[in-house]
Symmetry: D2
C-alpha cells in the first residue's frame, strides 16, 4: 500500500441556499487539490456540492448513504456505501473521517458534530452550530472563515495514523 488516502468529512444540510452550496463546493475542490478524499452522507445540498467540487478537481468522493439503494447518491459520489441503517449512518460518516468540516448545518449535522467531538475527531466549523453547556461556550469546534481556511485547518488537525 504505497499511496495513502486522507479522508476529510464534509457535513451539512441536504437542502441549502446557493451561497452555502458555493462554500461547500469550494471546500470539496480544495480538499481534492490537496490530495484528500471527500467523505460525506452522499445526498444533496452541502454533500452534493462538496462532491461536485472534489470531482471537478479530480478527487475521489465517498458517499455513506442512509437508505437501501445506491440510486439515492448524488451524481458526484464515486464510491457509494449503501448502509441501509438510516440516520444511524451519521456515526459512520464521522468515524470514517480523519477530520470533519461542518458547513452551515441542519440538526443532522449537529448529530455528526457531537459524534465527532465524542470520538475525538477534529471538527472545523464554517458558519455552523455553536454549542454551550452551563452557559459556557464549548470551544471544541475549530472555527474558520473561508473554505480555504477550513480545509487548511482540517488537514493540519488530521492525526498521523
Amino acid at each position: 500500500m504505497n499511496e495513502a488516502f486522507t479522508f476529510i468529512g464534509v457535513i451539512g444540510g441536504s437542502e441549502v441556499p446557493p451561497d452555502i452550496a458555493a462554500q461547500a463546493e469550494e471546500v470539496g475542490r480544495e480538499i481534492a487539490r490537496r490530495g484528500g478524499t471527500v467523505v460525506c452522507g452522499g445526498l444533496g445540498g452541502v454533500m452534493a456540492a462538496a462532491c461536485q467540487g472534489a470531482t471537478d478537481a479530480g478527487g475521489l468522493t465517498i458517499g455513506i448513504l442512509p437508505g437501501d439503494s445506491r440510486a439515492a447518491a448524488n451524481p458526484c459520489v464515486r464510491i457509494p456505501i449503501v448502509t441501509g441503517i438510516g440516520y444511524a449512518r451519521n456515526v459512520a460518516v464521522v468515524r470514517t473521517s480523519q477530520a470533519i468540516i461542518a458547513v452551515d448545518g441542519s440538526y443532522g449535522t449537529l448529530t455528526e458534530i457531537a459524534y465527532a467531538l465524542q470520538a475525538g475527531i477534529p471538527v472545523v466549523g464554517l458558519g455552523t452550530w455553536r454549542v454551550s453547556l452551563d452557559d459556557r461556550d464549548d470551544d471544541a469546534i475549530h472555527r474558520a472563515n473561508t473554505p480555504q481556511e477550513a480545509v487548511e485547518k482540517a488537514f493540519s488537525l488530521v492525526k498521523p495514523s
Copy 2:
C-alpha cells in the same frame, strides 16, 4: 390492548456528579409516579439514576444498550434491549421515546438532542446543552428548572398517537 404505555426518554452522561444524579433520579421517580415508562441508554450516570428513581416508584424501565450483552445494563433496567450497534443506538433511544428529558449532558446527549429535534420529538432540557446557529439561539429545546417541571412538560408535549 387496554393498558397504554407512555414512553419518556431520559438522556444524559454516563458519569455525572451526585447533584446531577439526584436530579435524574427524581426525574425517573416522577415519570413512574405519572404512569410513564423510562426509556434510556441503559448504562450508568443519568441513565442509572433515572432507572433507580423509576424502579423505586414501581415503574418500568427500558435500557437500549450499545453493546452485545445485557450484562452491561445498570441494575434497574427491567427490559434490556441489546442492540450491538454501538453509539448508533442513540437514534433508537430517541425514536422509541414520545418525549425526551435531557439532564445535564455529554456529547452523546447532544447527538440524542439533535436526533430528537430532527425527528420532531419534543425535548425538555434540565441544565443541558444550548445550541445556536448564525448567532441565533435555537429555542426548540423546552427549558425546565426542576425535575418535576421537566416531567410535567414532557408529558404535556407527548403527541396523541
Copy 3:
C-alpha cells in the same frame, strides 16, 4: 428488581399462510403461559401472530421495529422499540432474546438464525431453514415438531444470567 423477565425471540416471515400463523400464535401463547416475554421484529405474519397469542394469554410483547415510526408495529406489540436502522435491527432482535424460536422463515429469518448461532444464542426451529456446509448438515438448530415442544425447548435452553 424482584421480578425477572425471560425474553424469548420469535422470528419468521412477515407474510405467511394461515397454518404458519396459527403455529406462531400458539408459540406466543405458550411463551406467555410460562411467564415469558415475546421479543420479535414487530411487524406482521409470524411476528403479529406470536404477539396476538402472547397478548391473549396476558403476556408482554416487545417489537423491535426497523423503521422510524411506532405506527408500523402490529396491534399486539405492547413495547415498540423504534430503531430506524432497517434490517440491521435483526441483530437487536437476536441479541435481546435469551433463546429464539424460528417458525417457517423468510431470508430475513435466516439472517436472524445465523446471527443467533454466531452469538451462541440457542435457536429452536419449527419447520424452518436447514443449513449445511461442506455437505455436512449443521445441527446447531434444535428441531421441534409442535409449538409446545418448541417453547419447552427454548425455555430449557435459556442460560441463567
Copy 4:
C-alpha cells in the same frame, strides 16, 4: 463521472485455513484484473486474502469495518469505512456490493448471504453454505467450482444500474 466502478463483495470467515485463503486471494486478484473493486468486511481471513489479491493486481479495496477504529482493517484495505455498528455492518457490506462471492463461510457469512438473497443481490458460492426450507434446496445461490468461475459469474450477474 466518466470512470465507473464495479463493486464485488467478497465474504467469508475471518479465520480460515490456507487453502481457503488461497482461493479468496485468487478471487480478489481476478476481480481486480477485470477492473472491479473488492468490497468486504475489512478484517482477516477471507477478507484479508481477497484484499491482498486485489491489491497485488493493482485493484481498489473497500473494508466496511464493524468497530470504531480504522486500525482494525487488514493491511490491504485501501478505503476503510469505519461504521461502529458491529455485526449490523454486514447489511452494509451486502448492500454496497453489486454481486457477492461467498468463499467457504462462518455464521457471519451466512447472515450476509441471507441479506443478499433478501435484497435481490446476486450471490455466487465457492464451497459455501447450502440452505434449504421444507426439505427443498434453495437454489438461489449460484455455485462455482473455481475462483475464476466465481468471479466470471459474479460480473455476469451485476445488473446495469
